[in-house]
Subunit: 232 residues, 2 copies
């Protein structure tokens, strides 16, 4: 299969109370969504539309520190101004997801309350509009231990398997695979980021030609349960 | 920009001593490589061609355990049969990169000695063949703390910036970005994995339309230096 990844162009400023599908639809229209497409949306516009935006009061740095503590259920590491925290969703990321980039001046953006529900809602509404079942991934930009640079990963998923389980599959030599779980939703989010960039104002992309299994995967499937995790 | 990702089809079994570019060229030919394309090759075929394959002696599990210790410069975590180790390249991954998947029976595959050098060598040879400077990424499949499933990442790079530095760039609102380093080579490796799969025998893909900066990035740029790393 060949994969094509299209940036969704012409999406303007999103404000609290906006209906995000009303904003995505005109950008999707020229691409004529078809069966097999996957829609990737950065969480920023979801958070804004859902009103997950707070107005800074007082000193910005102090306000941010307090906000991070509120959003975090656990602090994983701390060094100077850098806080790596676990969110209530189970994600472990910088500043518990609190971010100022692409926020209107004097505001900060939080993660969506329930990114899987947000993804599901977008999928259902777009299905009504386009008559096609488009799996939806909501992405964010996370760091990783040991490796420099950030990559986009999936925090919300609807309509496809987030983790591809190859258990029982064999490699090309007929030998059972040792690697059995592929985080395909994260790979799709990373792939989409390549056409979105960080400063270009493109908050969504359409992936065409991905032939992995549809299903009822969720972003939370990508969170490793603490008892399986050697790193906390 | 629109990104296209093509699997490289028809690549057969690779043996120690093979010239990997001789194997890649006929698979690239139908795609007519052009300026702007990026070639992603899984390390397995590089390791095989470079003879980084060892024959199992005695008990397979015991042999593997000993081999992992040899390949590792440090053990990061250990639980049962699972060893997370640092390789001499600075990568932190399961089994120090020792893998049996897609190995000929009775053998195990190691990481290339110097994946950046391997990438550079492929790039130079393909430039001679096609008259086009194709950046090359050598990929492997790594796990991550906290998240389920594995993703493909870049272990060797030639001809493009591995980490995109956005320092000083502004977001769409004119605000300086907080996130400044994007691991684009890892995102390209993940994107390429979506067309390769793990059991399909497709060991390479061509990415067309990536407009990120060319340059002299290396896979080692993606290794976070221990003094910047909160997680070791």
């Amino acid at each position: 299969m060949t994969l094509e990844i299209f940036p969704l162009l012409g999406i303007g400023l999103v404000k609290p109370g906006d209906e995000v599908t009303d904003i995505l639809e005109p950008a999707l229209q020229p691409l004529q969504p078809e069966a097999g497409d996957v829609l990737v949306v950065t969480h920023k516009i979801i958070s804004k539309a859902e009103g997950r935006v707070v107005t800074v009061e007082g000193d910005e740095e102090a306000f941010k520190r307090a906000l991070v503590e509120t959003e975090a259920v656990a602090i994983v590491r701390r060094r100077g101004n850098l806080v790596i925290a676990e969110t209530k969703h189970g994600f472990i990321c910088a500043n518990a997801g609190v971010d100022r980039s692409n926020a209107v001046g004097g505001t900060m953006i939080l993660l969506p309350e329930d990114p899987d529900r947000s993804a599901h809602r977008i999928r259902i509404r777009l299905q009504r509009s386009f008559g096609v079942d488009l799996p939806v991934i909501i992405s964010d930009t996370f760091g990783r231990p040991w490796r420099r640079g950030l990559t986009d990963i999936a925090i919300g998923v609807s309509g496809l398997e987030a983790v591809l389980d190859l258990k029982g599959s064999t490699d090309w030599m007929g030998r059972e695979l040792e690697v059995t779980e592929i985080a395909v939703a994260d790979e799709l989010a990373s792939a989409a980021d390549l056409v979105m960039g960080k400063s270009s104002g493109i908050p969504a992309a359409l992936v065409r030609g991905y032939d992995g299994p549809r299903g009822e995967g969720r972003g939370r499937d990508l969170v490793r349960s603490p008892d399986e995790d050697l790193f906390r």
